[in-house]
């Protein structure tokens, strides 16, 4: 897959999924604390989201950051627009703005403070970007 094809695949994934998270690892086994926390916040709001692991190929992160003009991972997109990384998502979660932006009602049992996220897992086996975008 050429760099250009990777960028096209990323752009398509962003436009095809209302809520999409680019992260290190997968939602079930995040490989970075910031990604784990972001997943935990989305799960606390019980909002469905697509996830792409950037670790299997360094070009995914490179092309994503070139596209989004955002240097760090994770990156959360809503309806094609970058909402932010872990810091912004945490701020928005705690103010209630994240639920509003995503158009979900926060469940009654959602914690007021941003949840810490689960334990970090060892990096999962390499997987092609095609599979993650399905």
């Amino acid at each position: 897959m050429s760099d250009n094809e990777i960028r096209t695949a990323i752009a398509e994934a962003i436009s095809d999924n209302d809520v999409i998270l680019f992260m290190k690892g997968s939602p079930a086994s995040p490989a970075c604390g910031f990604s784990a926390r972001t997943v935990a916040m989305l799960e606390a709001l019980e909002t469905p989201f697509a996830a792409v692991d950037v670790l299997p190929d360094p070009r995914i992160r490179q092309e994503l950051s070139a596209l989004s003009k955002w240097p760090t991972i994770p990156q959360l997109f809503h309806k094609g627009e970058l909402i932010g990384g872990c810091d912004i998502i945490t701020e928005m979660y705690e103010s209630g703005e994240l639920a509003t932006t995503l158009g979900v009602d926060a469940p009654d049992d959602a914690p007021a403070d941003a949840p810490a996220g689960g334990e970090l897992q060892p990096q999962s086996a390499p997987m092609g970007i095609e599979n993650r975008l399905a």
């Binding site: 955002w70 240097p71 760090t72 909402i83 932010g84 810091d87 912004i88 701020e91």
Partner: protein, 83 residues
Amino acid sequence: MSDARYPVLQMPSAHEVKTRIEAAIPGAQAEVDTADEVHFSALVRAGAFEGLSRVQQHRLVYDVFEGELGGAIHALALKTEVS
């Protein structure tokens, strides 16, 4: 004296991070903390943030350290406010 043959990797101090943010963004005031000189947290207030989304505000700060995030600066936890 440093030996030119063995350049020392310059680790930015919290003060340097603060100074660079304030120099790059007009009217910005930054409070910067670091426990280990590689992970930083910063609260940046600037009039220049007026009318910008959070993403745009953070981009202005990230741009100050282009190429250094993930390198000498492992992580920069950021909070921005309009002053």
